[in-house]
C-alpha cells in the first residue's frame, strides 16, 4: 500500500526537519504531524518516517511502542482517556469509566464498531483539581458525573 500525506503536512515536515542538526531528531515531531492528519501511525507511515529521518524502520517502531500517545491502531473519531490514578479514583473515577463503558457499549481499550468512539484508561493527566476527569481528544473535561457524561456524549452524536 502506498503512503501519502497532504501537501500541507509534507510542507510542515520539511520545515520541522530544518530545525535539527540531526535528521533523526525530527522523529517525534514528524510522528505527531502524521497522527494529526491520519489519526494514527500505520506501518506504512512508520516506514515513511524511517525513510525521511534515515534510520531503519525498527528504530521508529521502538519509539512508537514507547509512547502510548502515539497510536499504532486506528482509533475512533472521539477518544476518551479516563484517568485512573489516585485522586480521580477517590472521587469516583471508576464509576465514570463503568458508565462510559455502558453508554458506549465498549470496554476500556476498545473502539466502537462504527469507528466513532475509543475508550482508554490512562495514568494521571495532572488535572486533579477537576477530578474525576477525562481527556476527550485534546480537551480536559471534569469534574464529571454520570449526568454530565450523558450530556457530553449526546452532544457529540
Amino acid at each position: 500500500m502506498s503512503f501519502s500525506l497532504s501537501e500541507q503536512t509534507e510542507a510542515k515536515i520539511d520545515q520541522v526537519m530544518q530545525r535539527y542538526p540531526e535528521k533523526r531528531a525530527a522523529t517525534l515531531p514528524i510522528l505527531h504531524l502524521i497522527q494529526e492528519e491520519k489519526g494514527w501511525i500505520s506501518d506504512e507511515a512508520q516506514n515513511y518516517v524511517a525513510q525521511r529521518v534515515e534510520v531503519p524502520p525498527i528504530k521508529i517502531r521502538e519509539v512508537l511502542s514507547f509512547y502510548t500517545l502515539l497510536h499504532t491502531r486506528k482509533i475512533g473519531k472521539f477518544h476518551f482517556q479516563v484517568c485512573r490514578t489516585v485522586a480521580c479514583t477517590l472521587r469516583g473515577g471508576k464509576s465514570i469509566l463503568q458508565h462510559l463503558e455502558k453508554k458506549l457499549g465498549i470496554k476500556s481499550g476498545e473502539t466502537s464498531a462504527d469507528g466513532m468512539f475509543t475508550l482508554t484508561e490512562v495514568e494521571c493527566l495532572a488535572a486533579c483539581e477537576i477530578a474525576p476527569m477525562l481527556q476527550l481528544n485534546d480537551d480536559y473535561i471534569g469534574p464529571l458525573t454520570p449526568e454530565k457524561l450523558d450530556e457530553l456524549i449526546d452532544g457529540l452524536k
Binding site: 531503519p56 524502520p57 525498527i58 528504530k59 517502531r61 521502538e62 511502542s65 514507547f66 509512547y67
Partner: protein, 546 residues
C-alpha cells in the same frame, strides 16, 4: 597521558580512555553487562558504577572518560552496596530458572550474584510475564523474561552486521527485546548475539540442551571455513557424548584476534564442524569390491597402494594428484615431498573452479572457502581455479593411471557422467578424506583422514598470516592426518620420510623456505604471525600460474 589512581594503584592511561578500560589495563575487572569492547557504549545496565573522589554521585565506569588526577574506587562500601541494588533491579523480572537455562555456568547474572548478590532480597513485586522460547531465527532462540535489556545484541545488529533485526519495544519494566515483526534474525553473523548475551536470553538452537557448559573442554584453534582464518575456540564434550547424539564437538566460539575477526565469527564457519562426528565419516581404510567397500587394515591398504605405485612407475604410467587447500601447511609440505620422491613431482593443483559463486562479503566471509590457499601457494602448489579441471581432463584422455584425490567433492558442477568416465580411465582412484561424498563413492580405495579439529598444524590465511591449529580431539576411528598417511606409505616404499609430529615437518620447512624462515610451529603466537610478505610474494611470483 593522564595519570589516575584506581583502587590506590597509580597508572598512566591513554587520554580518552574510559574508567573501565583504564581499570582493565591495571588488571582490575569492573563488572559489566552492557559494555562490550567491540560495540558502542550506552551505559544502560548500571552494574559498573564506581566512586570518583569529588563527585557526589557514583559514575558508570564504561562511559566516564579518565581525567588527570582522578581518584577512582571500584571496591568501596558505597560501590558494593550500589552493585547489590543494581543486581536486585536487574533480577526484578528475571525468572531465575537457572536449572533449566542453557546459560547456567557461563551466565553473568550468576557470576556477579555469587560475588556481590543481595542474598536477602527485598523485592516483593510480581514478576512481569514476557515472551518465552521465541524462535527468532534459524540459529537463535529468545527468552525475553531472562533478558536484562543490556542491548548488546541490538547494537550488534545495528553496528556489526548492520541488519537491524532486533529492538527493545515498550517501556519501563514492560520493555522487551523482540525482532522486528515479520523479520527473522538470519544475517550471516546472527549467532554472535548469543555469544555476547551476558544472560540466558539468547541461546543457540543447535547447542541448546545438549550439554552443560561445565563439561566442556576448550581448545584454541582457527576456523577452516574460508581463507579469512577467524580465530575460534573448539568446545568439546568427550565424556557425555550420549547426551548429544554422539557429537564430540559441542560448539565453536569466536576467539579474539585484533588482526582478523576481533570478537566475531560467521554462522557458516560456526557450524563448519558438523561433519566431524557425522554418520558418514570414513573411519577405516576400505577397498572397493564388486558389492561395495570392504574395510581393510591400514597395513593392507598401504601395502596394496605401494604396489600400485610401483607397478605404475615401472610401466612408465603417470600418477595424478589432486591436493586440497583444506590441508594444513604440514600436510601439504609432506604431500609435496612425497610427490617429489615417489610420484614424479608435478605442480599439484588444489583448487576447483566453483560451480556457483559462494556468498561472500568484505567483512569475514571470503569467496575462497579454503583455509590454506596462501599456504598451498607458498609451497608451490597450483592455486589456479582451473587446476583440478585440467587434471580431470588428463584423466579423461587416459593419460593418468593412478589418481590420488584429497578431500575434493567431484560431482556437482560437472556434466553428468563426466567424473565417472574420467575415473574409469584411471586404473585406480584413491580418495583421502574425512567423509563419504561424491568422490569417495566413485573411488577404488578410501583412506580416512582426520578433520581439522583432530590435528595440529598451521594455515596461512588470505593476508599471509600463519596461524596454529591445535588438536581438540583424538582422530575418529582409525583416521589419521594426511601427513601421517603419506609418511606411513613412504616407509613401505622405502626411502622413508622421517617425521614424528607436525613440529618436525614445520622445522624442515622453516629451514628450507624463505617465507617460513626462523619460525617454529610451537612458537607461533596465539594471534598468528604475518609472514614476511616480501618472501611470500617472491615465492608466489616464482611459482608459475597453473
Amino acid at each position: 597521558m593522564p595519570r589516575i589512581t584506581i583502587d590506590e594503584q597509580e597508572i598512566e592511561v591513554v587520554a580518552g580512555a574510559t574508567i573501565i578500560q583504564a581499570a582493565g589495563q591495571a588488571g582490575i575487572d569492573i563488572p559489566r553487562y552492557c559494555y562490550h569492547p567491540g560495540l558502542s557504549i550506552v551505559g544502560v545496565c548500571r552494574i559498573c558504577l564506581v566512586e570518583i573522589e569529588g563527585m557526589p554521585k557514583l559514575q558508570v565506569a564504561c562511559y566516564t572518560p579518565v581525567a588527570e588526577g582522578m581518584v577512582v574506587s571500584t571496591k568501596s562500601e558505597r560501590v558494593q552496596q550500589a552493585r547489590k541494588h543494581v543486581l536486585e533491579f536487574l533480577l526484578a523480572n528475571h525468572p531465575i530458572d537457572c536449572p533449566v537455562c542453557d546459560q547456567a555456568g557461563e551466565c553473568w547474572l550468576q557470576e556477579y550474584y555469587m560475588q556481590f548478590g543481595l542474598y536477602d532480597p527485598k523485592m516483593q513485586e510480581d514478576k512481569n510475564k514476557k515472551h518465552k522460547a521465541v524462535v527468532v531465527g534459524p540459529h537463535v532462540i529468545l527468552d525475553a523474561e531472562r533478558c536484562i535489556l543490556c542491548t548488546r545484541c541490538v547494537r550488534f545488529c545495528d553496528e556489526i552486521s548492520q541488519t537491524h533485526e532486533l529492538g527493545i519495544f515498550n517501556r519501563g519494566d514492560h520493555a522487551e527485546l523482540m525482532p522486528m515483526p515479520g523479520v527473522a534474525l538470519e544475517n550471516p553473523y546472527s549467532v554472535n548475539t548469543v555469544d555476547i548475551c551476558p544472560v540466558g536470553a539468547l541461546t543457540e538452537r543447535d547447542f541448546r540442551f545438549k550439554t552443560r557448559v561445565w563439561y566442556l573442554d576448550t581448545t584454541p584453534s582457527v576456523c577452516a571455513g574460508c581463507s579469512t582464518g577467524c580465530n575460534i575456540e573448539i568446545h568439546t564434550n568427550t565424556e557425555r557424548t550420549y547426551k548429544a547424539e554422539g557429537r564430540r564437538v559441542a560448539r565453536l566460539k569466536p576467539r579474539y584476534n585484533a588482526h582478523i575477526n576481533q570478537f566475531w565469527i560467521c554462522d557458516e564457519g560456526r557450524y563448519g564442524f558438523l561433519h566431524v562426528d557425522a554418520d558418514n565419516r570414513i573411519t577405516r581404510p576400505a577397498v572397493r569390491q564388486s558389492d561395495g567397500f570392504e574395510p581393510v587394515s591400514w597395513q593392507d591398504a598401504l601395502q596394496t597402494l605401494a604396489e600400485e605405485i610401483e607397478k605404475t612407475r615401472h610401466g612408465g604410467g603417470k600418477i595424478g594428484v589432486i591436493g586440497s587447500a583444506q590441508m594444513t601447511v604440514e600436510d601439504l609440505y609432506v604431500l609435496r615431498e612425497f610427490s617429489r620422491r615417489f610420484l614424479g613431482g608435478d605442480k599439484i593443483p588444489v583448487h576447483l573452479r566453483p560451480f556457483e559463486e559462494p556468498y561472500h562479503d568484505d567483512f569475514l566471509i571470503s569467496k575462497d572457502r579454503h583455509p590454506n590457499t596462501r599456504g598451498a601457494e607458498l609451497l608451490g602448489f597450483s592455486v589456479s581455479p582451473a587446476g583440478i579441471s585440467k587434471m580431470l581432463e588428463a584423466c579423461h584422455k587416459g593419460e593418468i593411471e593412478l589418481l590420488f584425490v584429497f578431500h575434493h567433492i567431484l560431482g556437482r558442477g560437472f556434466e553428468s557422467g563426466y567424473i565417472d568416465e574420467a575415473f574409469a580411465k584411471c586404473r585406480r582412484v584413491i580418495f583421502i578424506g574425512s567423509n563419504e561424498q561424491a568422490t569417495s563413492e566413485r573411488a577404488h580405495m578410501l583412506l580416512p583422514a582426520s578433520t581439522w579439529v583432530e590435528k595440529e598444524g598451521s594455515f596461512v590465511n588470505r593476508d599471509g598470516r600463519i596461524q596454529k591449529l591445535n588438536q581438540a580431539l583424538a582422530p575418529l576411528g582409525e583416521s589419521k592426518p594426511e601427513w601421517k598417511i603419506l609418511r606411513d606409505l613412504s616407509r613401505i616404499l622405502g626411502n622413508a620420510l622421517a617425521y614424528f609430529e607436525p613440529g618436525d615437518i614445520f622445522a624442515e620447512l622453516a629451514a628450507s623456505h624463505p617465507a617460513f624462515q626462523g619460525l617454529s610451529l610451537h612458537d607461533i603466537p596465539a594471534d598468528g604471525l604475518l609472514l614476511s610478505t616480501t618472501a611470500a610474494e617472491a615465492m608466489a611470483v616464482a611459482g608459475e600460474p597453473g
